[in-house]
Amino acid sequence: MSTVLALVGNPNCGKTTMFNNLTGSDQYVGNWPGVTVAKKGGMLLNHPDCEVVDLPGIYSLSPYTLEEVVTRDFLVYEHPSVIINIVDASNLERNLYLTTQLLELEIPVVLALNMMDVVEANGDEIDIERLARELKCIVVPIAAINGYGLGELIKVALTAAKEKSTNQGLPIFNDTEEISVRGIERLLPDRESTQLKRWLAIKIFECDNKVFEQIKISKNLLERMNGLRRRCEVAEDDDAESIVINARYRYITNTLRSCIKKKLKKGELSASDKIDNVVTNRLLAFPIFFIIMWAVYYIAIQTLGNMSVAGMKEIFGAIGDYTTQLMVLGGVSITMQSLVVNGVIGGVGAVLGFVPQITILFIFLSFLEDCGYMSRAAFIMDRAFRQFGLSGKSFIPMLVGTGCSVPGIMATRTIENEKDRKLTIMLTPFIPCSAKMPVFVLFAASLFPDKSWVGPSMYFWGIIMVVFSGMLLKRTTPFAGEPAPFVMEMPAYHMPGIKTVLKHTWEQVKSFIFKAGTIVFAASVLVWFLQSFNTSLDLVSPTDSMLANIGRFLAPVFVPQGFGNWQAAFAALTGFLAKEAIVSTFAILAGSGGDAGSKADLVLKLQSMFTPASAYAFMIFTLLAAPCCAAVGAIRSEMGSWKWTFFAVGYQTGVAYILAAIIYRVGLIIQ
């Protein structure tokens, strides 16, 4: 019979670090069934029969959010052997609020008082024995960041699990409240155990709708319970839910008065406050923000990032060449060679080519998140983005998206609100990425040689469409939310442990490789296949391939945009593989094979295929339509469902189609 240790605690309490300490590298990440809430678990180090489950960071066990319900259901129905409640000792009042709720369940609770190093640094004192007595549970001081107290915590937790010692509920209610709650408790059928009865009674008193869904009470009984509740509500002039919340905080405030001695007097500034005086300062906030973002962008996307992408291209190019040599020696058929080198190696290279860049980017983002800066960024940017339905944290994905949409889409991980996140994922590809730039540069040079505003105007359109789409989609049902109050904690700054940052980074990268990667690989192989063969499966030149024929088939579709010819359609299709492939496709079509000297041929060819109006329309279409397969893979990976992926890509292509048509019409009139 395996032991299950459940880790429960507020966001930002150090739970993740603790989880990593407890489980080493043997971890799994999945989803709770049916929801996009991450489930993390692992084996307790040195204890092969003990599992540690990391539950989502929550402030309360209310029935309102997915994370809370998932945690609640797990605790009540899966009945883990012990709860390790991780509490931020430098922020006890709010953290203990959840604790009071946990102590009402039937499961042994061990309070891990984390961040004792911060408490010590602040000069505060906590009377741990007194706290344990008042809370009637075991309290273990720890500092997850350096492992202090870890051994003790494990020992205590396992003992509690074995002894199945349950906690006594805390006397949080005053007399009036207690009478009502106990009255409800007595009305509950005897089949529940006494402690669970108590928990149920409190939930019923609170009008917890989830509990009402889950247990059956006769109408008669329900009426009597409602009566008991109403009596209390009238006596205290408040609703029951608020009464219970107030009771909890009341108890905590009284308890802590005798257990903590804080060094800072009211009104004095903590170290974090002093830093924030600069970082969220009226005048300095934006400059600092832009400098930090620019630095992240410069290193992760431009310098190191680009170098790594180029480096990976070289590596895979070399692998491809070497493999070709081997196959030639082995007398392998041309078709097979093409499959292996262009299809498989090309496909794998397309995925792994991103990995170094994504890794660098996420090291930065994880560091910024873990040290606490990200919430400041959200604080600063919120107002700007809120106007068009996005979150303050949407800035980073968009910024990163100017380099490449793939890491941009993955950077939406930092957005907690699921609807904002989905919206950001959908709109990030509208921002011109570095792969689209060659297309714009080429078209601008060919058809607008003396108009320098044409290339940069794409950024303008990208931003306009993000703003417009945000405002539009926010009014539609999938995105219009029950307005959740935007209450965000601003955690104290702290230096994140390297291990935690690297672990976070690795989680993101791994997710990319497996979730997005499979799609990219499949798409690369598919496009390669369609581009290399005709329908009789002979190896042909691209202009005679299936993909080109599909282009011919689709050509009429683009008549409203002015580029209803098969070459443009064919080029657009190859853009699915990679946006810069559009340039090489036109080069192939111009018969120039893509080498530098024949640039003039390429320009001439484009001038023959497009007019200024249709060229600009084509640029708009390229900018906004479905992104490359890697980005689609990232979208699928982050959205978590094909339905949403198709919706996103469909919206993007639809917008592209319509706007390109409008632009063409307007272009015709202007000309």
């Binding site: 309102y64 107030n246 906030a285 919120d382 955690p491």
Partner: protein
């Protein structure tokens, strides 16, 4: 009776009533903003919104449209 939105930076006020219901109210209260709690208005974001508050020993921020619904004195 004033609401939290109207309070100037640097002032400390006490919560009197929370004029929202349901999930929104629950969230605000879960975070520690309850009747009788002291709130210190730390600062306003550079763009004018949201506002940063100190509640029960920690910092949080709230949009002005939500702060409007918290009555204080």
């Amino acid at each position: 009776m004033k609401n939290l939105r109207e309070i100037a930076v640097g002032q400390t006020v006490t919560v009197v009533k929370i004029e929202v219901t349901g999930a929104m109210k629950r969230r605000i209260m879960d975070m520690g903003i309850t009747k009788g709690t002291d709130i210190f208005v730390r600062k306003i974001a550079p763009l004018g919104d949201p506002i940063e508050l100190k509640v029960r020993d920690y910092e949080l921020f709230l949009r002005k449209e939500d702060a409007e619904k918290i009555l204080v004195e």
